[in-house]
């Protein structure tokens, strides 16, 4: 962080450059139109200044349809072009690479809780390796927050009740601002932190700095503590679906529909088990609403994932072109 006053922000991801190029083109166009309008208005106001109190303006002759159509269509074409350009960048941000490393983020008044793929946790700090695709999956424990990294030119809202995703590939090592951008109550302005981009080997050293429990250890403990394992168990007399190997696969539901067992579906099944019951089972599972924090739900999801080795590689297709398709289908 430089203490002097910058005019343009530092850019530190592959994506930030693309946003900046769009911005510079916009800046040029905006400057052109602003100067043109200001200039014409000033020139006319000076040149045609009223000489005598009785002067009147000179009305143009004939119709001006050609002029009107020109200055209707020309800006429209320019703006639609810019919109398409912006859409292209947006699609890129909404489509994380399939092998991106997955981090979880939970916002709560007034802090960011972050969990690395290996289970290490941080508060208000995010350490990431340079040059790797990083995907953040985020939600909120209470009100809406927004995870904003200006140096990467992205923000995504952490919305309670759904998972939104953001991804980036940091291009420069360094320390960057992390802000909450969505007003979230008293200490909104203090819900800030930093993103530290490290060389990959430094990141590995940093990771091994302290001993970390296995990523799924807490989830497994919870699975037992909440007695999930009394029904979800891998034997023939189970009263609930076997979870081994299920993640990322399509499952058949009561009523004939199917759904991909992804993060959102597992979350929904924990909190609202009656909503989409797997075909062949009774809707007997109790809800765990109010009994688990968002972080605990994430631990459980990670544990269920760990029961399907290899499933993490393929991101479920349904979630690829929307922030979170299933949360939207059942608000």
């Amino acid at each position: 962080m430089t203490p002097n006053t910058p005019i343009f922000p530092q850019g530190a991801s592959t994506y930030s450059t693309e946003v900046d190029i769009l911005f510079y083109v916009y800046l040029g166009l905006a400057a052109f139109f602003t100067v043109a309008i200001f200039g014409l208005v000033t020139v006319f106001a000076v040149k045609y200044r009223r000489k005598k109190a009785t002067d009147v303006g000179v009305e143009p002759q004939g119709h001006a349809t050609v002029i009107e159509v020109t200055w209707t269509v020309l800006p429209l074409i320019l703006m639609l072009g810019a919109a398409i350009w912006g859409l292209k960048i947006y699609v890129q941000q909404l489509t994380p690479p399939p092998n991106a490393k997955e981090y979880y983020v939970v916002g709560k008044q007034w802090m960011w809780k972050i969990e690395h793929p290996d289970g290490r946790r941080e508060i208000n700090e995010l350490h990431v390796p340079k040059g790797e695709d990083i995907k953040l999956k985020m939600t909120s424990e209470d009100v809406i927050h927004s995870f904003f990294i200006p140096a990467f030119r992205i923000k995504v809202d952490a919305v309670p009740g759904r998972y939104n995703t953001m991804w980036f590939n940091a291009a420069k090592t360094g320390t960057y601002h992390l802000f909450c951008a969505e007003y979230c109550g008293v200490d909104h302005a203090r819900m800030i932190g930093r993103v530290v981009v490290m060389e990959p080997h430094e990141y590995q050293e940093w990771l091994s700095g302290t001993k970390v429990r296995a990523a799924t250890a807490t989830g497994e403990e919870l699975f037992v503590a909440k007695a999930c394992n009394t029904c979800h168990r891998p034997d023939s007399s189970a009263r609930a679906p076997i979870l081994n190997g299920i993640f990322g696969k399509e499952v058949a539901l009561l009523g004939g529909k199917t759904i991909v067992a992804d993060d959102e579906y597992i979350r929904e099944s924990i909190l609202n088990p009656g909503a989409k019951v797997v075909s062949g089972y009774q809707p007997i599972m109790p809800t765990f609403k109010g009994q688990l924090s968002e972080e605990e739900i994430i631990q459980l999801i990670k544990y269920v994932r760990s029961l399907s080795p290899g499933a993490d590689k393929g991101v479920p297709k349904t979630a690829s072109l929307a922030f979170s398709s299933s949360a939207e289908a059942h608000p």
Partner: protein, 546 residues
């Protein structure tokens, strides 16, 4: 300035201000002109209060640390700034004051279609304002003017319901005014006053009224739902009890995006009038400008999702909202180009109203262009919820709506009061406002692109220089807003009478005495021409002016 070859103007013997002045003659008046004055008093109070909040905000932000007031207080201050300015100043400002006063006169009518409802709408507005003010007195609320859930419905403290109900009530005032205007424009136009002979001020108000009637009920319902969730824990917006917080944003912006057009369309109408009067020309492309107002009103209802690009809205929804946002920018651009073309070969007088109108064109252009940027998906992900947005909407709302209001107030002040104000001070203050405004808000574009989020009580040190510039600009802007209060009030005491038509403008309102008589027209006028028809030199027989 006056082109009339007559003896020095004097006040008419009888006019709407010369009647009885007991409290009930004002508080129970059905005269649209007096009701307009009542509204002017109301909005001035709320503008002063909202402005005071702005002063506190800029003082706090002069230093990076939150040292002037606690975070909790700061959040209440910016919330009240937004609530008061949006719902109790900007939305009613031009329609309820200038529209109320001028719309019937411009169409040659005696009054609005429903004078009693017009008075009722003022009372509703004042009751809503009083409730909100009470909420402010007992501690204020910290939800932000956007009332986002679940913060507002489950977490925010303070009299949230009181303020929300105040806004809810004031909404009905807006609906009734819109209803009154639409019926009046349809039913009470003078003989010969066809739709395409209407002044563009009237077109602007017609478009505004459509939005007021169709949009306001939605925000009213939304506020009720927030209240139901706060009071009875009915799960509508809070996911903990089965609701969806994004649903609130859809409902809120379905009204509140069109609401920015409620604030800007009347202002555009004012600018059209001023440009025509001070270049003594027809507005170039009159029909395009008129239909642009309607186009904005219709398309404005279809762009609300551009406030939610970062919320998790689907790609397809985002793309559609982004493209329609580009479409709604086109009619605004058409207006700017046509105003500029109107100046070409005009007979331009640099009076104060024109200075405001030219300021509007320039600042609204910047506000509009940055709006187009914000409507661009990939770009918005960076600047959404930063000071870039704050700067953008202040360019539209202050640079646009308020400059339009001030321009209109200066243009019609001689008509409303019968008096001329001090030209020197009015030009000075127009200049001060223009400079102060740009110094306040231009640095905020840079702050936003650098990444400073909005609604921050404290901020990292590298943003301080730009924030100091902004605070310095705000103090200049504040002075610029105080000076007009002084010289306008002073003008009431002097004896510089305006006469019927101090600007030598055409239009029905300039054919009647200043101040107008209670019944507006002694004999109903008959309209035979398009608006803004100034006799061209070759056909000129009589001097300009009536």
């Amino acid at each position: 300035m006056t082109s009339q070859h007559e003896s020095a103007p004097a006040l008419p013997e009888k006019h709407y201000l010369s009647g009885a002045w007991s409290p009930q003659d004002w508080l129970l008046t059905k005269d649209h002109k007096r009701i307009g004055i009542l509204y002017l008093v109301g909005i001035s109070i709320f503008f002063a209060l909202g402005g005071l909040m702005a002063v506190l905000i800029r003082m706090e932000l002069a230093t990076p640390s939150g040292d002037l007031m606690p975070a909790d207080v700061y959040n209440r201050v910016f919330t009240m700034h937004g609530v008061l300015m949006v719902f109790f100043f900007l939305i009613p400002s031009i329609p309820a004051v200038l529209g109320n006063f001028l719309l019937p006169i411009m169409i040659g009518a005696k009054d609005l279609a429903f004078p009693k409802i017009n008075l009722l709408s003022w009372y509703i507005y004042m009751i809503g304002g009083a409730m909100t003010f009470y909420g402010l007195l007992v501690g204020g609320i910290d939800t932000g003017w956007t009332f986002y859930t679940p913060l507002s419905s489950g977490y925010a403290t303070g009299p949230v319901l009181t303020v929300a109900v105040g806004v809810f009530i004031a909404g009905f005032s807006s609906i009734l005014t819109g209803l009154n205007f639409i019926v009046t424009i349809h039913r009470m136009r003078a003989p010969g006053l066809t739709w395409f002979r209407l002044p563009l001020f009237v077109w602007g108000h017609y478009a505004t009224s459509i939005i007021q009637i169709l949009g306001t009920p939605v925000v009213a319902i939304t506020i009720l739902l927030v209240g139901a969730e706060r009071l009875f824990h009915i799960g509508v917006f809070d996911p903990k009890i089965g609701g969806d917080p994004i649903l609130f944003q859809h409902l809120f912006w379905f009204y509140s995006h069109p609401a920015v057009y409620i604030m800007i369309l009347p202002s555009m109408g004012v600018v059209s009038e001023i440009i025509a009067a001070f270049s003594r020309k027809k507005v170039f492309g009159y029909k395009f400008v008129a239909f642009a107002s309607i186009g904005i009103a219709v398309l404005g209802f279809l762009v609300w999702g551009h406030h939610m690009f970062t919320s998790g809205q689907s790609l397809y929804a985002g793309a559609v909202f982004s493209f329609i946002t580009m479409l709604v920018a086109v009619p605004s651009a058409i207006k700017v180009f046509n105003w500029t073309a109107t100046l070409y070969k005009g007979a331009i007088a640099w009076d104060t109203p024109l200075l405001y109108a030219l300021g509007f064109i320039g600042l609204f252009t910047i506000g509009g262009l940055t709006g187009v940027m914000l409507g661009t998906l990939g770009f918005d992900l960076h600047v959404h919820d930063t000071y870039f947005v704050v700067a953008h909407f202040h360019y539209v709302m202050v640079g646009g709506a308020i400059l339009g209001f001030l321009g209109g107030l200066h243009y019609w002040w001689p008509k409303i009061t019968g008096k001329l104000y001090n030209e020197f001070w009015s030009k000075i203050s127009a200049g001060i406002i223009f400079i102060g405004f740009n110094l306040t808000f231009f640095p905020q574009f840079i702050l936003g692109y650098l990444g400073m989020p909005r609604r921050y009580h404290s901020y990292p040190e590298e943003f301080q220089v730009l924030n100091i510039l902004s605070s310095a600009g705000a103090s200049i802007l504040g002075i610029g807003f105080v000076i007009p209060v002084i010289y306008l009030l002073a003008s009431l005491a002097n004896k510089r009478y305006a006469g019927n038509n101090p600007w030598g403008a055409v239009g029905l309102e300039w054919q009647i005495p200043s101040p107008p008589p209670t019944e507006n027209f002694e004999t109903p006028p008959v309209v035979t021409d398009e608006p803004y028809t100034y006799p061209q030199p070759d056909e000129k027989e009589a001097p300009v002016g009536v």
